[in-house]
């Protein structure tokens, strides 16, 4: 099985690993880790743009929204940006109804965002918190982790309502 992984690699790696692969069955997991760490095998995540469906993580009543426009950025919105979205799915008795056009702040994005110390942060899903035109959150609580980037982007209100800050 180690040779199976090795076959995805270049010749040099294959020769090395093929030889020792059989001896180190315990190293199977580590070779797989190398595969995962290799940029060739990682998914390339991209911006939040028109038609992106995002999850809503506050208690405003909506469940899923679809992005109509990213307000800043030519290629799309990233973590901490504001978007215009249309509610596609909502709870039956909530403050927002299906079909409403709302503004939202992206609080989790699958695309990594660099921080000033050189690290990058990325999440498993795309999530948004609905706000009104002035930037006041429509809901009263935010679920799930939110990153620090919101503080720099002047969304401290969302940080105060969040239950967990990444």
């Amino acid at each position: 099985m180690a040779s199976g992984f090795a076959s995805k690699w270049s010749k040099v790696g294959r020769q090395l690993l093929g030889g020792v692969g059989n001896n180190f069955s315990g190293l199977l997991s580590t070779s797989h880790e190398i595969t995962c760490g290799n940029p060739l095998f990682q998914q390339q995540r991209t911006f939040i743009q028109m038609r992106t469906v995002l999850k809503v993580v506050d208690n405003s009543g909506a469940k899923k929204v679809m992005c109509i426009q990213a307000l800043k950025g030519k290629k799309g919105a990233r973590l901490g940006d504001t978007i215009v979205a249309s509610v596609k799915e909502a709870h039956p008795n909530g403050k927002v109804k299906k079909g409403k056009v709302v503004y939202g702040v992206v609080v989790r994005a699958a695309m990594q965002r660099g921080r000033c110390d050189g690290s990058e942060v990325k999440f498993d899903d795309n999530a948004v918190v609905l706000v009104d035109k002035q930037g006041q959150p429509i809901g009263t609580r935010v679920f799930g982790p939110v990153p620090h980037e919101l503080r720099k982007k002047k969304h401290v209100k969302i940080l105060t309502l969040a239950e967990h800050i990444a």
């Binding site: 690699w9 270049s10 040099v12 790696g13 090395l16 690993l17 020792v20 180190f24 069955s25 315990g26 190293l27 997991s29 580590t30 797989h32 880790e33 190398i34 995962c36 760490g37 290799n38 940029p39 060739l40 990682q42 989790r108 990594q112 050189g118 690290s119 990058e120 942060v121 990325k122 999440f123 498993d124 899903d125 002035q134 930037g135 006041q136 009263t140 609580r141 799930g144 982790p145 620090h148 503080r151 002047k154 401290v156 209100k157 940080l159 105060t160 309502l161 239950e163 967990h164 800050i165 990444a166």
Partner: protein, 227 residues
Amino acid sequence: MAVSTILSITGTGAGIPFTGEFRPLGLFESKFYERPRKPYGSSCMNGHHFAHHKCIWRIPSNRNLNSKSKDSSLVLAIGKENVSKDTDDMYDELFNKYGKVVFRRKDQKPQIAVELANVASQVKAADIKVLFVKPLVYWTRFFIITTAFSRPQIDAIGSKIRDLAEKKYGRVPSGDTKPNSWTLLDFGDVVVHIFLPQQRAFYNLEEFYANATPIELPFENQPPFRG
């Protein structure tokens, strides 16, 4: 794309860390550990653990999220080469010994928060509360929550607080410039919230931060609702 991979496997058996050197995008070294060290670490899609030069954090979605607890399933900032097993154990020991958030005792004497609260009461803001939230949130120390009854009053409180902070402490807030029904001034370690009465009831921050210790204010608090 030809990926030249040079592997050097050292050690005498399974269960030892080895160093691999890759050269597709630039020189970096990664250290791999045989077995997962912690239940929460950065993981690639198949749940294996790896240390990457560019710290990519992975937050496990919807798992182990305790509200307001610091030992959450957050990742370690893996990525520096000298992060080793010993360092993490040392941090764990420190945490267990001293508690999750370490702060000095003299943080409890909040001069600036009380000053700002004083200013707010001069402008007849009602129901001022100063909360010491450092044990709950790590990004700030104090919350000042206050109610104003009209937009011009919010404006007045805001500008008075800004002036005092700038003159006396030299701090400039980042926050709303136009008065909103919830105006927020962020002074780094002190965050001031100015609400209109219905917004205060709507957002209910006192309930959310009920675990924070309130700080005693040396003046009379006005009742929340004027007659």
